[in-house]
């Protein structure tokens, strides 16, 4: 049957791409990567050491409160970056 001797030659009608896959480089990627770095900083020494103190916030030990508040804030930032119209 039909053999193509040269790669790609002798093809039938080329199939058109279902919408091109050349996406405009979005700024979401770099922004989210920055948030990842921020998270790595926030949840590691030495920032943790800052909050590793006595005392309570709304009755909850400061460190615990810090974790959840910082975590929640990070998630909120991620939502903001992703859901924004590019």
């Amino acid at each position: 049957m039909n053999g193509s001797r040269r790669p790609g030659a002798g093809r039938g009608t080329p199939v058109t791409a279902p919408g091109g896959s050349m996406t405009r480089p979005s700024i979401k990627g770099p922004r989210l990567a920055a948030l990842c770095l921020l998270g790595l900083l926030l949840f590691n020494y030495p920032v943790l050491a800052i909050f590793n103190v006595h005392g309570t916030l709304f009755g909850v030990p400061v460190l615990y409160a810090y974790f959840f508040i910082a975590w929640g804030a990070l998630i909120a930032l991620m939502a903001l970056v992703v859901e924004r119209r590019d």
Binding site: R5, G8, V15, L48, L63
Partner: protein, 923 residues
């Protein structure tokens, strides 16, 4: 309410509900109206990450070292922030290459290597066994505890049960049956399990609800809010150290860091996570919502962990209740039966979700990437000849599910009792983390080779086995404990928990450091030792450059061979059934505008690639390759040819851009040519007109001359008077002819622009009177009165004097021609208009009708009845006058009414302006 039969009944009812949801979702999917095509369902399905480990184990860990459980959830949150870059790429690659599992992904990337796929599968199965055993342990323990109600007795205290009475075994078997019915009812070409996704999304809600319920109850009913719990904890000597300040935050900082990294990798490479995140993904855009919804879920399910942990410690100070069970035993001890039941179902939910998805993912890998490639290669079985293999595939998968669950149970029996839940789970995390280098390297680095990936995986797995699995077995008594204390054969440097003397780390961190070192080192080192083969290079391009490829047939560019369409159809039908194969071919043909099967399909590279993709969806990339290769005579592409194709492609892009530009220029040039052609044709027509008219005009006098000459010649006896008359006519006609020829030549010169002009400053008044004087004889002969009217001081014009005289001569002789002899009056006036000098020649002749006014300036046109009143002119006079006047930048026109004479006027620009105009024209 918490009696045994009731609990069993409710458990089965819950499983039945899950099954119903899955069934419904599958039916909707078959009808094309998918239930799970929603970013919210997608995000919830990702929460299968939270298993019985999260449900029971987090509290257990928190009760022992405070926030030590958190990195397991914060790590994924951070990794998910990177998903926009990493996961989108993996999604795109997987969709384009019809990836069906993690092993398929890795095998496909490194040249569709079946060996690599097999190795990944084995590592995955062995690595996940601890994790599965954890779930079994959690479910069976929680069931046992509930059965002891109202007593609180820990299962460990009940002693080891004989095999057939072991709840865990029954749980394993029931889950196996459930999973088989769930996930292997039929083969899906793309390995989509919509029912499963819907069911686990539902489960995610159930376990979240259950955990929140018990959390709220502990915090606000059992105690008076968070403040109450923590204040009481602060006054407890045993618990106080757990509150801040913590010693190096729950263990050492390095432990913390490595646990975070480990979880970041686990969220990517756990087979069940890969399955739901990548394979089951319906739309890339769903990733957007998942990026923040899934971390939010994890936050929500962890909010109450610490309150419950401390609440439990406070409630059971004696320490005889496992912290892993607090979520269940707290409601039980307070006689909250309904809540305890809800918690039990929540735990069951978490465990079953994990088991179902994980075993389905693993069984797919075992079937597609381990067993099938091996079977296909054994020619003795003649599998390539069999007409229908779908039954075999399903059978292999079902067998794999049962085997995996039984192996999980076996691990539970052998080593499950030694550790707390979280520790068991971390062993599995470390195993799947071994996939990170070759996958992440594979999608960003084209230099990663098959050998490198193989080396990395084997090295990492070996270290993992030695540093994590062996100790677990040793601690459970299946291996001599001396192995841990003194090292193998007494070699202290090779102690499994302190390799090369690196001691003081917890075992997970220790294992991670060494295994990653070995893995990455081997991967990079071996990859760099040899260049990638042609196959690997092609796959590497497809993977790493996935975002810059224009269409799905990218793989087809890298293929060469001969095939026949019917053979390809057969091989496809063998695995997906004739109906699906027909459908696939019809779709392919439709895209090319071919009506198949009435018209034959071209078996070219694109078709082969298409069939291979469809096949890969059912049996994995490497098996698909083997099958297609069996019907196709392929010619091996060398690396150079692959490079050639890539170079060619980039060259083609450059050329096509150049071509575009050239064709644009070509269009512009041809438009110009067309316009020029039109002009030339027009001129040609005019020239033809001119020639025909001139020849006609010339012929007329010539005819007269000839006629009369002949008469004179032929008739010598003509009377003298007649002879004089005829000769006179001949003379006049020759004069006319001469005049005409001169005028034609003059006109030709004027029109071609080759006439010579000698412009000087001219006083129009003087010029006019000169001409009038010169013509005085004519005026006298015709008895016409001529009056000249011109003011003094009219500015000069810059013009050719002779030509102007020619104009005046013409106008005046016309005027004389059309005046009645004896009564004619001609008035010539010279006047000044703004910027111009104007000359009028008025006569009192018969006048010119409006129709004729338009005509007289045209070539060879005269006014008057040519029969009776044969004019003496040539018909060119006025035309030439107009040319002359217009060349000087002026205007020549006539104003007249029939019966009231005619007035011919022309204007000429005053000297200064005219010189400028002349200068402009010359330039």
């Amino acid at each position: 309410m918490l009696q045994g039969p009731v609990v069993v009944l409710i458990s089965f009812a819950y499983l039945g509900l899950l099954f119903a949801i899955a069934y419904y979702a599958d039916r909707r999917a078959d009808a094309g109206r998918s239930v799970i095509a929603s970013p919210y369902i997608y995000s919830l399905s990702l929460a299968v990450y939270a298993t019985a480990w999260t449900f029971y184990g987090s509290v257990g860990r928190a009760a022992v070292n405070g926030v030590g459980f958190l990195p397991i959830y914060i790590g994924p949150t951070l990794m998910i922030a990177l998903w926009w870059i990493v996961m989108r790429k993996i999604l795109r690659i997987s969709k384009q290459n019809r990836i069906t599992s993690l092993a398929d992904f890795i095998a496909s990337r490194y040249g569709k290597s079946a060996l690599l796929g097999g190795v990944v599968t084995v590592i995955a199965v062995i690595g996940i066994l601890p994790y599965i055993s954890l779930q079994l342990k959690a479910v069976s323990n929680s069931f046992t505890i509930v059965l002891q109600y109202p007593e609180i007795i820990m299962p460990a205290k009940l002693g080891a049960l004989p095999l057939l009475k072991d709840t865990a075994l029954w749980v394993a078997l029931i889950l196996a049956a459930f999973t088989i019915v769930f996930g292997t009812r039929h083969l899906d070409a793309a390995e989509h399990h919509e029912g499963m996704v819907a069911a686990i999304a539902f489960e995610s809600l159930v376990k979240l609800f259950a955990f929140l319920a018990v959390g709220v109850w502990v915090s606000f009913v059992l105690y008076n809010g968070f403040g109450d719990i923590f204040t009481r904890a602060a006054s407890d000597d045993q618990l106080k150290p757990l509150l801040a300040p913590l010693e190096g935050v729950a263990g050492s900082y390095s432990s913390w860091v490595w646990l975070t990294i480990l979880s970041m990798l686990a969220i990517m490479f756990l087979p069940r996570q890969f399955q739901v995140t990548v394979i089951e993904n319906k739309d890339e855009k769903h990733l957007n919502k998942a990026i923040w919804l899934f971390p939010l879920y994890m936050l929500a399910i962890n909010v109450f962990v610490l309150p419950i942990a401390f609440g439990g410690r406070l409630h059971f100070p004696a320490g005889n209740v496992d912290a892993d069970t607090f979520v269940l035993t707290l409601p039980m001890v307070e006689k909250q039966e309904l809540l305890a039941l809800i918690v039990f179902i929540g735990g069951l939910s978490a465990a079953t979700g994990m088991v179902i998805v994980e075993t389905i993912a693993l069984s797919t890998m075992v079937c597609n990437d381990l067993i099938m490639p091996a079977l296909l290669r054994i020619r003795a079985l003649g599998l390539t000849m069999r007409p229908d293999l779908s039954g075999l595939l399903l059978g292999i998968r079902r067998g794999a599910i049962v085997l995996i669950l039984l192996l999980g149970y076996m691990y539970f029996r052998l080593a499950g009792e030694a550790y707390a839940l979280v520790s068991i789970g971390l062993i599995s995390f470390a195993a799947v983390a071994q996939f990170a280098p070759c996958v992440l390297g594979g999608i960003f680095w084209k230099g990663g080779t098959r050998r490198g990936a193989l080396a990395g995986l084997l090295a990492g797995f070996a270290v993992w086995f030695y540093t994590l699995l062996l100790p677990a077995l040793a601690r459970s008594g299946w291996l001599p404990v001396e192995l841990l204390e003194d090292g193998p054969f007494g070699i202290e440097l090779l102690k499994p928990l302190a390799l090369f003397g690196v001691a003081g780390l917890d075992q997970t961190t220790h294992a991670m450091i060494w295994s990653m070192l070995a893995n990455i080192g081997a991967y990079v080192g071996v990859s760099l030792m040899a260049a990638p083969s042609a196959d690997e290079h092609r796959q590497a391009s497809l993977f790493v450059d996935v975002f810059s490829q224009p269409d799905e047939a990218g793989g087809a560019r890298f293929w060469r061979g001969t095939a026949s369409a019917p053979d390809l159809h057969d091989v496809l039908a063998r695995f997906v059934g004739i109906a699906s194969a027909d459908e696939a071919f019809r779709e392919y043909a439709r895209q090319r505008g071919v009506r198949w099967p009435q018209e034959p399909l071209d078996a070219d590279a694109a078709l082969v690639h298409y069939v291979e993709m469809q096949l890969a969806g059912a049996i994995g990339a490497s098996s698909a390759r083997v099958m297609v290769a069996s019907v196709v005579k392929e010619e091996a592409l060398t690396l150079d040819e692959v490079r050639e194709v890539l170079d060619e492609a980039s060259q083609v892009v450059v050329y096509s851009r150049q071509l575009e530009q050239k064709s644009r220029e070509l269009e512009a040039a041809s438009a110009e040519l067309r316009a020029a052609n039109e002009r030339l044709k027009e001129l040609d027509r005019l020239k033809d007109d001119f020639i025909s008219t001139v020849t006609h005009e010339l012929r007329t006098p010539l005819t007269s001359i000839r006629a009369f000459s002949e008469i004179l010649r032929d008739d010598p006896k003509l009377a003298l008077a007649e002879r004089q008359k005829f000769v006179g006519i001949i003379c006049k006609e020759t004069e006319r002819l001469t005049r005409l020829i001169n005028q034609v030549l003059d006109l030709a010169k004027l029109e071609s622009g080759t006439a010579e002009w000698h412009d000087t400053r001219i006083d129009m008044r003087e010029l006019v009177s000169e001409v009038v004087t010169a013509m005085s004889q004519l005026f006298h002969d015709k008895a016409v009165q001529v009056a000249l009217r011109a003011r003094e001081g009219i500015p000069a014009v810059f013009a050719d004097a002779d030509r102007l005289k020619q104009v005046l001569l013409n106008l005046l002789s016309n005027a004389v021609k059309f005046c009645e002899a004896g009564r004619g009056r001609i008035e010539v006036s010279v006047s000044e208009e703004p910027g111009r000098v104007r000359v009028d020649v008025r006569d009192n002749g018969p006048g010119i009708s409006a129709a004729d006014q338009a005509v007289i300036f045209e070539k060879f046109r005269q006014v008057g009845d040519t029969l009776t009143d044969k004019p003496q002119g040539t018909g060119l006079g006025l035309h030439i006058c107009r040319q002359i006047v217009e060349r000087h930048g002026g205007r020549l026109w006539v104003e007249s009414r029939v019966g009231e004479g005619a007035s011919f006027s022309f204007t000429l620009p005053i000297a200064r302006a005219q010189r400028a105009a002349a200068g402009a024209r010359v330039a």
